[in-house]
Amino acid sequence: MMNTQAIEQNKKKRMGSLKREKYFTIIFGHLLLVVLAVIWLYPILWIILQSFRVEYNDQNQLVGIVVSHYFPKGLGVQNYVNLFNNSTFVFGRWWLNTLFVSFFTFIISTLFVLSVAYVMSKLKFKSRKVFLSTAIILGLFPGFMSMIAIYYILKAMSLTGSLPALILVYSAGAGLGFYVGKGFFDIIPNSLIESARLDGCTNAGIFAKIILPMSKPIIIYTAITTFMGPWMDFIFAKTIIGEKNRANLTVAFGLYSMIYGEQSDSNLFTTFAAGSVLVALPIVILFISMQKYYVEGVTAGSVKG
């Protein structure tokens, strides 16, 4: 009798503590998340706000430098207008350049990545292990080490300074980034392929008719990552195109050169902010709308190692 009572009481106590714990999590957890969200959004919101900042000095000139106050004294779209009217920093041109480069980069890279990933995952051939080891070893050399050699190879092909050169640089080595895709194809059961082979399907037929239609997640993952690359890279663009070749720059290095380039001007900061918003916007929209596939890719890649 005593025993059951004690158990009942114990249970109640435990329920009570669980409830307290629950409320603690709800209040404290959400509070913490709000604080974290503020920290994570702070630099981004700051840049957006600065891109709309329109302040004039005594001589009625636009003040574009970094200022110490957070909230602009005047708002407007003047920075966006200036962005497209600057004759040294031709942002509109850069934006189209980047779109051009990233479009072809994503087509070539996606083809390379998918074909290598599929072959490494599902086709058995003699030198497969050697290919795998070589790919791992090559990936370990720092990319910047060979950048200058790539520059001279392109020069021997008289391609330096041109956008096709940039497309080549971004996509030629793409075949080495096949791990995530391989992880995806590894999960497709082999029996599916074997039964198709018994039906007399060729390997190419299997790839085109069976594998590709079910590879939507990995195709999208590869497409997002390769498409985003040229919008973010400023180092290869700088080396291959060169800062003086302004008409052929891409957005990343173009904007970077506004702040830290040879002709940089600290009064261009708000213009830089406006440009940043116009670069980030399409990528963010693309990324957020496809985030499901991105998350799948990241998870697959990590667990497979």
């Binding site: 629950k22 999590t25 957890g29 998340l33 630099p43 981004i44 700051w46 110490s68 390379f112 074909s115 290598v116 599929y118 072959v119 086709l123 080891s133 791992i136 090559l138 370990l140 050399f141 720092p142 910047f144 080490m145 950048m147 200058i148 050699a149 790539i150 001279y152 190879i153 021997a156 080549l168 030629a172 080595g173 793409a174 992880g183 590894d186 082999n190 060729t202 390997n203 190419a204 790839f207 973010m232 400023f234 080396t239 904007l255 702040i259 900061f269 670069v279 980030a280 963010v284 693309l286 990324f287 957020i288 985030q291 998350v295 990241v298 998870t299 990590s302 667990v303 497979k304 190692g305």
Partner: protein, 477 residues
């Protein structure tokens, strides 16, 4: 609890196996050459000298012509030495590879030898020879195979059959060739070239095309320990900071990411998607934007310093990213800012893993009467750590070669007195970048690149050999 059994094989043994297999392959090749030449038909014997003759012998004309044309093309290149940018490819390129040019040229004597291009084209020519040997071997092989089929009374492959095999048994060749050509041109060739550069005296005093440079053996490497100059003074400090950075960057991100993921995935937390999207935003925004924004926010007279002064917390602006004294403040700031950059990635990854924890583990634990704390420390945490160990090591390796965060936040500064390239926060990779792209000290840059490779290679060998993915790959399929 039991995790999938990971049988341990010493990774040195694996490396040993790798080289042993290559050695065996070579020996087998040579033995094969002897027997093929002795026992082959006239066509096979002739194939050793004139490629494609075996195919003509077996009446496979198209294939024979292709092989013959390849051999003629190869001989033409080797003999005629076509010039690109005034530097020959062909047998002269091999000679040039060893001399690296002899004609220094005077002020008025016209163009001189270009050591850099000679080295590059030497490597290219070696590559062409390698590909030719491979083709030559395959021509003999194809003839020997035809001999064998004839002996067994089986029909020979027609050219049409050969083409068809490219979309079937040899589909891997069709799929891999374009990607591999790209990798050879833009990854393998440049990497081999730079490895050779590490053994030359190609530094900032040499302008390719105006001065020659020479082979110097291991001098650039031994200079680290014995010599004077930048690499001897700065290598150890930069390496130390690189390792410290990689350690802190990896672990802060890893545990931070796990904690954030656990928080968001807690069943009492609402608006999970919103929180996740907030963190995702920082992945989508190019780092040159977000990191430059942070750099400007933190500048000495920037908004954050002003705010702190207005609040009365400090009297004078703090040099968050450029303290002139010993670089401790920038180093700490870099690691802190890296948390901002890195947590979203780890958070995403661990979120996926948390959702995939096998439910029966939890059920078993609840039946055994475990409370929530026990469940967390005995199941959730060990599971996540177990599954992500390979990731942990590979992200350590990745952090060793991370570039953007240092380059965009401090540019490697503050500078070290003495006029050295490497500043206090430079990592091996940013130092490499400055040495090659900014200064033209290509040989030093290449040395740093090779040493970085050795460090990351050690780490990666450990990862791949230990990770279950690699071991159980064959069992899994």
């Amino acid at each position: 609890m039991e995790y999938p059994n990971t049988k341990k094989k010493n990774f040195f043994l694996h490396v040993g196996d790798f080289f042993l297999n290559i050695g065996k392959g070579f020996v087998n090749r040579f033995v094969k050459f002897g027997t093929r030449f002795k026992e082959g038909s006239l066509g096979t014997k002739m194939s050793h000298f004139i490629m494609g003759s075996g195919n003509f012998y077996h009446k496979r004309i198209t294939k024979g012509i292709i092989y013959l044309l390849l051999q003629i093309g190869f001989i033409l290149i080797m003999v005629l030495n076509p010039k690109v940018n005034n530097t020959p490819i062909g047998y002269k390129a091999i000679v040039n590879f060893f001399t690296l040019g002899t004609n220094e040229g005077g002020l008025f004597t016209g163009p001189t030898d270009n050591s850099m291009l000679m080295l590059l084209f030497g490597v290219v020519t070696f590559g062409i020879i390698g590909i030719f040997i491979f083709t030559w071997n395959s021509s003999i092989k194809s003839s020997a195979l035809a001999d064998q089929l004839k002996k067994e009374g089986k029909p020979l492959n027609t050219f049409k059959d050969d083409l068809h095999s490219l979309i079937d048994e040899k589909f891997h060749l069709t799929m891999l060739t374009p990607a591999i050509l790209g990798v050879i041109m833009f990854t393998i060739l440049p990497t081999i070239f730079m490895i050779f550069i590490a053994f030359t005296d190609y530094d900032s005093s040499v302008i390719a095309g105006q001065h020659l440079f020479n082979w110097v053996g291991f001098k650039n490497f031994t200079n680290i320990f014995t010599g004077k100059g930048e690499i001897a003074v700065r290598f150890i400090p930069v390496l130390t900071w690189t390792l410290i950075w990689a350690f802190f960057a990896t672990f802060t991100n890893y545990f931070g990411g796990i904690l954030v993921a656990l928080l968001i995935n807690n069943k009492h937390i609402k608006f999970k998607k919103v929180w996740r999207t907030v963190f995702m935003l920082t992945i989508a925004i190019p780092q040159f934007i977000s990191l430059l924004a942070i750099r400007l926010l933190l500048s000495k007279s920037g908004p954050i310093n002003t705010m702190l002064i207005d609040l009365g917390l400090i009297k004078e602006g703090i040099e968050f990213l450029g303290s002139a004294t010993n670089g401790i403040v920038p180093k700490i700031m870099i690691i802190l800012i890296n948390i901002w950059v890195g947590i979203p990635f780890t958070m995403l990854m661990t979120s996926g893993i948390l959702m995939n924890i096998p439910q029966d583990l939890y059920e078993a634990a609840v039946i055994d009467g475990a409370n929530r704390r026990q469940v967390f420390f005995k199941i959730t945490l060990p599971y996540v750590i177990f599954v992500t160990t390979p990731y942990l090591i590979s992200s350590f390796v990745g952090n060793i070669t991370s570039f953007n965060i240092i380059f965009l936040l401090t540019g490697g500064g503050p500078a070290v007195p003495g006029g050295y390239t490497a500043g206090r926060t430079d990592l091996l990779v940013t130092w490499l970048y400055k040495l090659t792209i900014d200064e033209g000290n290509y040989n030093l840059g290449a040395v740093i690149g090779i040493l970085t490779f050795l460090i990351t290679a050690t780490g990666t060998l450990l990862t791949y050999r230990r990770s279950q993915a690699f071991k159980e790959e064959d069992a899994f399929q």
